[in-house]
């Protein structure tokens, strides 16, 4: 596992060499790239590996492979490295990379697809706190048609079993009436709830 990760990192960093993963070679899925292209509708195969994206991404330092590295690993079929990477969760979709990209690749659009594939394939989610947050936001929308920040935070904390971090921030926001106690709802929340169950995958 350790060895394969470092191979992946070398590849991601732009050194082109054949992956040496021993038996792990079996885990390379050459159709993965097509799957992601199709799913995201994004033709990221035209990536030049110029690394402008990585240079501008404000979260590069917290990522393992960085945006260009993720693309390269997809192209090599390193499914597990990509889907289990923190990178796909740390991307916030700020588009800093896409405006810098000389090939006009919608990198955050690609990341959206990767997260969905990761969830569907039940891989180990490296940044589970971020996923929990997204789930709580969606739960709130499903329940009310709008987001109810206070409840999102409470439920997020329950889910993470973490009751103490950010108490001060929460209290300050309460004092400034930035967190409403009661949710704001749409007239018939069922209309929106239906979108969650009906929407085709």
């Amino acid at each position: 596992m350790q060895a394969s990760r470092s191979t992946a990192m070398i590849l991601a960093a732009g050194e082109i060499s054949l992956p040496n993963r021993g038996n792990d070679m079996l885990e390379i899925d050459t159709s993965f790239c097509d799957t992601v292209v199709q799913r995201s509708g994004e033709e990221f195969r035209r990536c030049l590996q110029c690394m402008s994206c990585a240079g501008g991404c404000p979260f590069s330092h917290a990522m393992t492979y960085r945006p260009n590295g993720v693309i390269r690993l997809i192209q090599y079929g390193f499914v597990r490295e990509v889907l289990e990477s923190p990178d796909i969760w740390l991307c916030v979709g700020c588009n800093t990379c896409s405006i810098a990209c000389p090939m006009a690749i919608d990198i955050p659009g690609m990341m959206d697809a990767l997260r969905e594939i990761a969830i569907e394939n039940k891989v180990k989610i490296n940044e589970s706190a971020i996923l929990s947050f997204h789930q709580e936001v969606l739960n709130s929308i499903q329940r009310y048609g709008r987001t109810h920040k206070l409840e999102i935070m409470m439920r997020y904390k329950l889910r993470r079993r973490d009751f103490f971090t950010d108490m001060d921030v929460g209290l300050k926001m309460m004092a400034k009436r930035k967190l409403d106690l009661m949710p704001s709802k749409i007239a018939d929340p069922k209309v929106v709830a239906k979108l969650f169950s009906e929407a085709e995958k």
Partner: protein, 283 residues
């Protein structure tokens, strides 16, 4: 866009402005009223899907945005207050324009044809269209030194690259009223958005860098047009010295000499009152 078409406007406030950033909402409405525009809040609007829907359920993100579009009456522009909501709504609208199958699905679901000509506009666009409202340059903002902070709001994905963007708008307009805009390094740096909840350890150094950048440039305050940026800078910066952060519309309220409600300013987590008093912008 001509000024006379701007009288009746549909308005999508979005969850943040309806709750945690009420001061942004109220000042924005006030400035619009001052400019002679009637904002008609979109009846029964829902959340645009925020960052979370497109992150893990792109199908739901599309439908959430479409429901809002379907509520917009024809023939008038839709004003969206939040840079993040507008990106969601514009992305869905763009998809409708490109993809007939998506249009069919929209019709089936919402019982009407999508309005492919709907203009979805940001507050900036109104300000650009109405310019300085014909008002003469003034010193209303008393030389206030500000760092214009756009965050990611000017960065659109490639498929929306032909959409209008407004580089320099805050600088131009606020300078017209006697504020002094500063050139600094972090004007378009992402604020960290939702990672502020799950990964504050990653976001705090980022916002500290932004705040320190503004301080080093000699700013007295930051000006932003995004409620998320505003909140992250306020709650995640842990530097000893923090500058107050204003919503663009709050400073415009001051610039136009409109009465500023006390309870907006007290909603700020970094108290702007000492600065405003020192600059004689409030009594």
């Amino acid at each position: 866009m001509k000024t006379q078409t701007l009288e009746n406007i549909s308005y999508f406030p979005g969850c943040s402005l309806a709750t945690s950033a009420k001061e942004n909402n109220q000042s924005l409405k006030k400035v619009c009223a001052h400019m002679g525009m009637r904002l008609q809040e979109l009846n029964d609007w829902n959340c645009c899907g925020s960052s979370s829907a497109h992150s893990i359920r792109s199908d739901v993100a599309f439908h959430l945005a479409c429901r809002n579009l379907s509520l917009a009456p024809k023939g008038r522009p839709l004003l969206v207050a939040c840079p993040s909501c507008i990106l969601r709504l514009k992305s869905a609208h763009h998809r409708l324009k490109e993809d007939p199958a998506a249009c069919e699905e929209y019709e089936r679901r919402w019982g009407r044809e999508p309005d492919l000509d709907l203009q979805i506009i940001h507050f900036f666009e109104l300000m650009k269209a109405n310019g300085h409202l014909g008002s003469a340059p003034s010193e209303a903002l008393q030389g206030l030194k500000f760092a214009p902070y756009y965050g990611c709001m000017l960065a659109y994905p490639p498929q929306l690259r032909h959409e209008n963007r407004y580089y320099g708008l805050m600088e131009n307009l606020l300078s017209h009223f006697g504020a002094e805009s500063l050139i600094w390094d972090y004007a378009s740096r992402c604020c960290g958005t939702f990672l502020s909840v799950a990964r504050p350890d990653v976001v705090t150094p980022m916002v500290n860098q932004i705040m320190q950048g503004a301080i080093n440039a000699g700013a007295e305050c930051l000006v932003t047009a995004c409620a998320m940026c505003h909140l992250n800078l306020e709650i995640r910066c842990n530097l000893k010295e923090k500058l107050p952060i204003f919503h663009f519309s709050e400073l415009l309220t001051l610039a136009y000499g409109l009465p500023l409600k006390k309870n907006w300013l007290t909603k700020h987590l970094v108290d702007p009152l000492p600065l405003l008093k020192q600059r004689r912008l409030v009594a």
